[in-house]
């Protein structure tokens, strides 16, 4: 297609610049979400009564449509990247908190007892035993959160060019250049698949004791779908 990479100058970015912007706008919320979820999930594991209300609150927040969330935030944070990144951070919680809680809870009692018997304190036991065993569950959550975050950033285009590659979709509409929309959709899909693959590699590196190859693939089932809007 002609002009596939001819990015309109009003975006003030090259194609690669848009990709970088998109990665930042989608990646930072997932990181922030992980930083919030880790202590929150640990609290939920410790205090069992806290888990249902936390789940309830995150589900309700997740139900708020992104566009509605964005426009309400404009009043406080203006038409900035932050306005896009705050809702995305909030959305990741509904995926990451249950993933971490289930992962940490799935650590067998004997393993914890063995760690305690070896003289591990609660902090060291958490960091060196419980967290590593929970890594597959956490990464599974991170994969869903990252991929849906990449897709959601583009909605930011609707509140005034805060959507990175989404702005390209907006321009495709304004200038009637469908090839730009094709470019944006393909780029985002490729970014999402690359990020997904990267997280799988990270999991393989972090869990060298897990079976790899054909055996693991057979055991792998599609994780329950929560996100992607």
């Amino acid at each position: 297609m002609d002009g596939f990479f001819d990015i309109p100058s009003d975006l003030q970015h090259s194609w690669l610049g848009l990709v970088g912007l998109h990665v930042r706008e989608a990646g930072l919320p997932v990181l922030a979400g992980l930083l919030i979820s880790l202590p929150l999930a640990q609290l939920c594991v410790r205090l069992r009564w806290l888990y249902p209300p936390v789940l309830w609150v995150t589900t309700v927040l997740y139900a708020i449509p992104s566009l509605a969330f964005f426009v309400v935030l404009i009043d406080y944070t203006g038409q900035t990247e932050l306005t896009v990144m705050i809702p995305l951070t909030v959305y990741t919680l509904v995926i990451l908190v249950p993933a971490i809680v289930d992962g940490v809870r799935s650590v067998p009692q004997e393993t914890i007892a063995a760690a305690t018997a070896m003289g591990f304190g609660p902090v060291r036991r958490y960091v060196q035993v419980q967290l590593p065993i929970a890594v597959p569950a956490i990464i599974a959550g991170l994969r869903v959160a990252t991929v849906s975050s990449i897709s959601l950033v583009s909605v930011g285009a609707l509140i005034g060019n805060q959507g990175a590659l989404g702005n390209l979709i907006n321009d495709a509409n304004i200038y009637n250049r469908p090839e730009l929309a094709v470019n944006a959709v393909l780029t985002m899909a490729v970014l999402a698949i690359l990020a997904d693959g990267l997280l799988v590699v990270v999991r393989l590196l972090l869990t060298p004791w897990m079976p790899s190859g054909a055996r693991a693939r057979r055991a792998e089932r599609p994780e329950p779908e929560v996100a992607a809007r």
């Binding site: 589900t59 309700v60 997740y62 139900a63 708020i64 449509p65 992104s66 566009l67 509605a68 969330f69 426009v71 309400v72 009043d75 869903v144 991929v147 849906s148 990449i150 897709s151 583009s154 909605v155 285009a157 609707l158 509140i159 005034g160 959507g163 590659l165 989404g166 979709i169 907006n170 495709a172 509409n173 009637n176 469908p178 929309a181 094709v182 944006a184 959709v185 985002m188 899909a189 999402a192 698949i193 997904d196 693939r217 792998e220 089932r221 599609p222 994780e223 329950p224 779908e225 929560v226 996100a227 992607a228 809007r229």
Partner: protein, 222 residues
């Protein structure tokens, strides 16, 4: 509170309650789109999910569909469809259905797979056919999770139908998109409040449906 003033101004203006751009019309449109897209997606996703889950096959294909469905940005798909096929309800329905099928499909499959095999074996031992096992044993046990999948699909449709106002669709998103263009912040915030309320109402509706349709024994054991 700035936002609350805007919301109050929006809802107390009687002009917003009647006519083509009135709240009842827009709300009705939004509900209609949501129901249509959800019905089509469920008609595709539920049977396939139930069948694959019952026979325990095709998990890898479903995992692939799930990743592909998530990776495709819906906003981009919406604009692309409209740009290449022109304005029209069907062109907007396709991305909404594409968006809603993966969660229904994958969750239904997962729900069927997670049913305890012991009662299924018992049912077979009692001489039930495949169809009976599916509808009288597996489906009732898997129902809470299946409804969860339908709920997440419904919520995604509600929020994406909002975005679809950008490409000509009516519904509550009109207030947000038009308000942003007109720099009428009262309209934007009012529309956002309505959409958020509708999403929460969807959540509440599914909670109620779960209470009513899931057998008490299953509810208790969860």
């Amino acid at each position: 509170m700035n936002i609350l003033n805007f919301i109050n101004a929006f809802f107390s203006d009687s002009a917003h309650w009647q006519g083509y751009d009135g709240i009842p019309t827009r709300l009705g449109e939004h509900v209609q789109y949501t129901l249509e897209a959800l019905a089509i997606a469920a008609a595709i996703g539920l049977p396939v999910g139930l069948a694959t889950g019952h026979y325990g096959r095709g998990g890898n294909a479903l995992a692939f569909i799930a990743v592909a469905g998530r990776a495709l940005p819906t906003f981009g798909l919406l604009v692309l469809m409209t740009l290449s096929l022109g304005f029209g309800l069907i062109n907007v329905m396709i991305p909404l259905v594409v968006l809603a099928v993966p969660p229904i499909l994958v969750t239904t499959y997962e729900a069927m797979r997670s049913v305890d095999p012991a009662p299924v074996d018992a049912a077979r031992g009692m001489g039930m056919h495949d169809v009976e096992v599916l509808f009288r044993v597996e489906l009732p046990v898997a129902l809470p999770l299946i409804l969860g999948g339908l709920r997440s699909a419904a919520i995604q449709i509600v929020s994406t139908a909002t975005i679809a106002a950008y490409v000509s669709l009516g519904g509550l998103g009109r207030y947000i998109v038009d308000g942003l263009y007109q720099r009428n912040y009262e309209k934007v915030v009012g529309g956002a409040a309505l959409v958020a309320l509708m999403a929460l109402a969807t959540l509440a509706l599914f909670w109620g449906v779960t209470r009513l349709t899931v057998s008490r024994g299953v509810l208790r054991s969860n």
